[in-house]
C-alpha cells in the first residue's frame, strides 16, 4: 500500500461522505455501489468512518457569517 493508494482511498471516502446518502433510496444503485466499495476492503471502511465523521464536524461548525 503506497501513500498514493491511501490518498486515493481517502479521496473516494471523502467524496462518499459528501454524498446525500440519507436522501437516497436504499435500492438506488449508488447506495449499492457504496456498500460494494465498503465491503471490498477494510481500509475503505476505516477511511469512510473517518470521512463521514469529518463531514459531521463540518456540520457542527457554527456559521461565521455575520449577515
Amino acid at each position: 500500500m503506497t501513500a498514493a493508494d491511501k490518498d486515493k482511498i481517502w479521496e473516494t471516502a471523502w467524496q462518499w461522505a459528501q454524498y446525500p446518502v440519507h436522501d437516497t433510496p436504499i435500492e438506488h444503485q449508488d447506495i449499492q455501489r457504496l456498500n460494494a466499495w465498503l465491503n471490498a476492503d477494510l481500509l475503505h471502511r476505516q477511511a469512510y468512518d473517518k470521512a463521514t465523521h469529518l463531514w459531521l464536524m463540518t456540520g457542527f461548525a457554527p456559521p461565521t457569517a455575520t449577515i
Binding site: V21, T52, L54, F60
Partner: protein, 173 residues
Amino acid sequence: MKECLATVDLAAVFVANRQQLNAIARKIVGMEHIAEDVLQDAYIRLVKGACARKVDKPFSYCCQVVRNIAIDYCRKKKVEAGYREFNNQEVAITCASSGLNIENGMAESQLLDAVIKVIAHLPERTRRVFELHRFDGLTQRQIAEQLGCSAALVNIMIKEAMATISNCRTLYE
C-alpha cells in the same frame, strides 16, 4: 466562565424548544424512537460534548446540530443495513479498529476546533460559498445568484473548500 454560561444557555434553549427540535429530527429520520435517540445524542454534545461552545444564535445552532446528527443517523442506518447483510462478523471489528472514539467528548471537541479553524481560514468568498452550501443548503445556482457570480465559479469554490477541509484527515491518524 463565559463558556459555562454559553453551555447553560444551549441547554436551556434546547429544553425550551425540545418539541421543535424533535420535529426537525423526526422529519429526517422518520421514526419517533430514532428521533429521540438523535435528540439525546444532540443534547449530550451540546451540553458537555464538542458542540458545547459559545455561539451567536443558540436556537439556530441547536437546530443545526440536531439536523446534522439526524442526517448522520440516517446515513449510518442505510449503509450499515447493506454492510451487515454482507459481512455481519466484521462490523464490530471495523468499528473498533477505525480509531474513532466519538464517545470521547474531548477528542471530538478538539477535532471540531481544528475544523472551525480551517473553515475560518478559507478565503472570505470561498468560506461564504461553503457556508451557504453546507449550512443553508442552497444549490450552487442559488448561491451564484446571491453572490452575483457564475455557477461554475461557485462549483470551483465549493471544491476548493472541500479539498482544504479534506486535509483534516491527518487529525485522525
